[in-house]
């Protein structure tokens, strides 16, 4: 049983193992609307941090109570994971069932994607599920033919933007943003398109970015897909000519904005949440651009790895991540955008509907090579 087994074995594998028919598609009920009390101990899932704020009374989707039971063991490769939040979520799912165990391997998502590809090259990955912090990584794994198609009832929980193919499904969203120092600017002083920054003298020598960072590269990839290579190149060159400063990652960018080292920067939205965690009084706020690459909403994604010994359970497990309880858990304890639209994000963030992401197939974000070449060409790397 080498690497070429393919994904057709799905039904056979489950047939011999589970006596219960609970994992069969027909048992999955349609989404519905629950009051808080109908859900499973919602108050225990929900976080209570200072940024949580008001929560809704009703949620639409599926409760873990209505999902098929999980049995057996699965291995999840966890890329990133918001400081243990994802791990705790999986821990909680495991705790819901007596006969279910989840083994987690955390590492950086691109590393794990590379690993899964190597594993698939060499034979068989031990992973059943890959849950990565960015869509690019799951996209690459899918492109390399290392995944199994997900059942519709799993993928249909989220808007199509967040599962451009059936090889993976988005779990939590992350929005590109412009963190700015409130001592330097007011919210309405920030341009609503990234194209405006290079021309604006207020930002000369005052901005930071992290070009080696995956999220930034995804942002440039998106720009390339949307505006074409030439325009992207010009923007990059203009920004550099404008004295943008390089950082190792986007937390450093957000932090630098908070400390006043920078006036503004490019980062994912949740890095500013992290800054608040450390320094609740940080003079830092977020702005969002409209309909351009700067407004990209990337997401963490999950997929079932080819040759998984238990693909049904794996898919069902992913479904659990998209249950109301888990989305509430992830959304209120972490800083990501729940992709189940009835579960709002925390803090004073706009809801996911209020964001104006560009029209873009998130899978294309995996096409980072040309981006790297471009970044190198303009000397940003």
């Amino acid at each position: 049983s080498g690497g070429g087994g393919g994904g057709e074995t799905t039904s056979e594998t489950s047939a011999d193992g589970d006596s219960a028919t609970s994992t069969s598609t027909s048992d999955v009920p349609a989404p519905k609307t629950y009051t808080e009390d109908e859900l499973f101990h919602m108050d225990e899932w929900r976080g209570d941090g200072p940024q949580v704020g008001e929560r809704p009374n009703e949620y639409t989707g599926l409760s873990v109570l209505d999902l098929p039971n999980l049995r057996g063991e699965i291995t999840v490769y966890l890329g990133g994971g918001e400081g243990g939040l994802y791990q705790e979520a999986m821990q909680r799912i495991q705790n819901l069932y007596r006969d279910f165990t989840v083994y987690i391997r955390p590492a950086s998502s691109s590393q794990l994607a590379n690993t899964i590809i190597e594993e698939a090259n060499a034979g068989q990955s031990p992973a059943d599920v890959f849950w990565a912090i960015d869509a690019g990584s799951v996209g690459v794994v899918a492109e390399n033919g290392a995944t199994v198609t997900l059942p519709d009832h799993v993928t249909q929980s989220v808007p199509d933007t967040y599962h451009p193919t059936d090889e993976w499904v988005g779990i939590m969203g992350r929005a590109r943003s412009i963190p700015f120092n409130t001592n330097a600017f007011d919210a309405d002083e920030i341009p609503n398109e990234v194209a405006a920054f290079p021309d604006d003298p207020r930002f000369e020598d005052e901005m930071g970015w992290a070009p080696t960072y995956g999220a930034f590269q995804a942002f440039i990839t998106a720009m390339r897909e949307l505006n074409g290579r030439e325009a992207t190149k010009q923007w990059l060159e203009a920004m550099q000519a404008h004295g943008v400063r390089k950082y190792g990652n986007e937390f450093q960018v957000a932090n630098a904005v908070a400390t006043g080292e920078l006036s503004a920067g490019f980062s994912n939205h949740y890095y500013s949440r992290l800054v608040y965690e450390e320094r609740p009084d940080a003079p830092l706020e977020l702005a969002f651009t409209q309909n351009d690459a700067g407004a990209l909403v990337n997401c963490s994604g999950a997929q079932v790895i080819k040759n998984s010994s238990n693909p049904e359970t794996a898919a069902n497990f992913i479904h659990h991540l998209l249950s109301i309880e888990l989305q509430e858990f992830l959304g209120t304890r972490g800083f990501g955008y729940p992709l189940l639209s009835s579960v709002p994000p925390i803090g004073n963030l706009p809801t996911i509907d209020q964001l104006n992401p560009p029209e873009l197939d998130l899978s294309t974000l995996a096409n980072v090579q040309p981006t790297l070449e471009l970044l190198r060409e303009v000397g940003a790397l």
Partner: protein, 548 residues
């Protein structure tokens, strides 16, 4: 003597006392070298996959930056390490014992942690800037870029030079200095003309570790924003340009090969370490006199830079982060520490065992084969952890698949153990990465054992193995132990290969630090960082207590 004769002479000489290479030893060492070299095969595999074939110099400026960084860090480490070794071994510096340990301790601090704390302390609006701001100082020199990276890397790697130089100084036959002084040569002259030439191999072996570390380190240049080869490799992997990454790795290995060749020239130019078997009876301590205060200040400032700054920052994080600790979901467990110690001890033992045949062969039978085998063990050390990790992922899984195939062919369950994501493969990865530290320390201690001693043992009826066990081993034990302890230290702080190859659910201090750092919970990182440093520091004390 003609130039050619001069070139050939050392080899002719080396061969002259050699009564043939022992086949078994060569085979064993060769196998060890082949094993630690195997990850290169993966790099080649990936390079060949590259579209349009392999292209050599893809990032010329990055390549140049890497070389410059290696040169500067190595030079600076020698400049720091050698005088400190001399001060703590040969002079009447007050509190020598304390300084010895304090100066060696930076080795236990992972350089990425050092870089982190340096950013916090010296970065724009870091603690130092905050402290100085009220005094009207509005800009501190940037820690970012080449200077910062070189500084931080030097601070956390120079102890390699310090330790190897110390070892050479301690085992140096002082009667030679005595001889020089009775010839009317002052102490300083004698140091330059007699001691130094014979310390060169020791200094060079420490400098080699520094150079290769500087070449292969990723965390520091990443944090301090310097585009070096490892950084480029990491970027490529992130962008799934595995072929380009492999090509860059090949460039990095080319530099490694050049460094190894350079080092073996230096190490050989004085034909190995000459060290007497007899202890000096006389009091050879140099009185510092009025240089005492500057010497103390020098030691104190090095220790401040290396230890006080990062520990201070960790402490501040710990204080500030205590609120955030409750917030992080990753709860520190003591099993992480015990797991770290477990794999590190296992790696140390494995390296010690693998190093002995290689080092013995290299020290006793100076031949091209022996030298190649010895050098080969250094390659893995210069391989970025992520490259090594992926290579071993590939081989680990391939091996598993082969075992599966085999069992399906013979139609029975295979009894061959799986390797992938098991401790043995992880420990093998550590051996690949850290074997040279063991080999270096062991090799120089073997050189110190007079060949006639093992000859005497054999004439008294011992087999080569018996002579080794009863005479050589007791005499080289401190070297073997010191090498193992170095491996222990570096394994304790190793991250990239650990992340890729750890058995699922097997968390260690560094993987925990990585996880909480990933979440930005600096406060939570402080505790495991302290634990890591304390455990490593204890083992450092053990290493140094092995010195006589």
């Amino acid at each position: 003597m003609s130039a050619l004769d001069r070139l050939v002479a050392p080899f002719a000489r080396a061969r002259s006392r050699d009564s043939g290479l022992p086949t078994a030893l060569v085979l064993l060492s060769g196998a060890i070298a082949a094993a630690v070299l195997s990850p290169i095969a993966w790099i080649l595999l990936r390079v060949l996959e590259a579209e349009g074939g392999p292209s050599l110099l893809t990032h010329p400026s990055t390549f140049a930056t890497s070389i410059a960084l290696v040169a500067v860090v190595t030079g600076a480490s020698v400049v720091l390490g050698v005088p400190l070794a001399f001060l703590t071994v040969r002079t009447d510096l007050p509190f020598r014992r304390f300084w010895t340990i304090a100066v060696a301790l930076p080795l236990v601090i992972p350089s990425y942690l050092g870089a982190f704390t340096y950013i916090s302390a010296f970065g724009p609006s870091g603690y130092i800037a905050d402290l100085l701001a009220p005094l009207g100082v509005d800009s501190v020199p940037s820690v970012y870029g080449f200077g910062g990276v070189a500084l931080v890397l030097t601070l956390y790697t120079f102890p390699y030079v310090f330790i190897t130089t110390r070892a050479s100084l301690l085992s140096f036959d002082e009667s030679l200095v005595e001889a020089a002084r009775t010839l009317g040569v002052s102490r300083i002259e004698a140091f330059r003309r007699v001691t130094l030439p014979q310390l060169v191999p020791g200094i060079a072996s420490g400098a080699l570790l520094v150079a290769l570390y500087a070449l292969s380190d990723f965390g520091t240049p990443n944090l301090l924003r310097l585009e070096v080869l490892t950084q480029a490799i990491w970027v490529e992997f992130n962008g799934f340009g595995r072929e380009t990454a492999a090509m860059l790795s090949l460039q990095l290995l080319t530099i490694t090969a050049v460094i190894l060749a350079l080092q073996s020239r230096v190490g050989d130019s004085t034909q190995g370490a000459y060290v007497g078997t007899r202890a000096s009876t006389s009091d050879t301590t140099v009185a510092l006199g009025r240089w005492k205060a500057p010497a103390l200040a020098f030691c104190a400032s090095v220790v401040t830079m290396c230890l006080v700054v990062p520990l201070g920052v960790l402490f501040v994080w710990f204080r500030r982060g205590s609120s955030a600790i409750g917030r992080t979901r990753l709860v520190f467990e003591w099993s992480y520490a015990s797991n770290s110690v477990l794999v590190s001890v296992a790696a140390a033992v494995a390296c010690a065992l693998a190093a002995i045949p290689v080092a013995y062969l290299a020290a006793r039978h100076r031949s091209t084969v022996a030298e190649l085998i010895d050098r080969a063990t250094y390659i893995g050390y210069a391989m970025p952890g992520i490259v090594l990790g992926l290579a071993l992922v590939f081989f680990g899984v391939s091996y598993g698949a082969a075992v599966d195939d085999l069992s399906s062919v013979i139609g029975a369950a295979s009894y061959l153990p799986t390797l992938y994501q098991t401790l043995p493969l992880l420990i093998f990865a550590y051996v690949v990465r850290f074997l040279p530290q063991s080999v270096g320390a062991t090799r120089s201690s073997v050189m110190r054992v007079d060949r006639e001693l093992t000859e005497a043992a054999r004439l008294l009826g011992e087999s080569p193995l018996g002579a080794f066990r009863r005479v050589a081993l007791p005499l080289i034990a401190p070297g073997v132990f010191a090498g193992a302890a170095l491996v222990f230290l570096t394994t304790m702080k190793e991250l990239p290969a650990t992340l890729l190859l750890q058995p699922t659910g097997f968390d260690t201090l560094v993987t925990y630090i990585w996880a909480v750092r990933e979440s930005g919970s600096y406060g939570a990182a402080a505790i495991p960082a302290f634990v890591l440093i304390v455990v490593s520091a204890l083992s450092m004390v053990v290493i140094l207590s092995q010195e006589k």
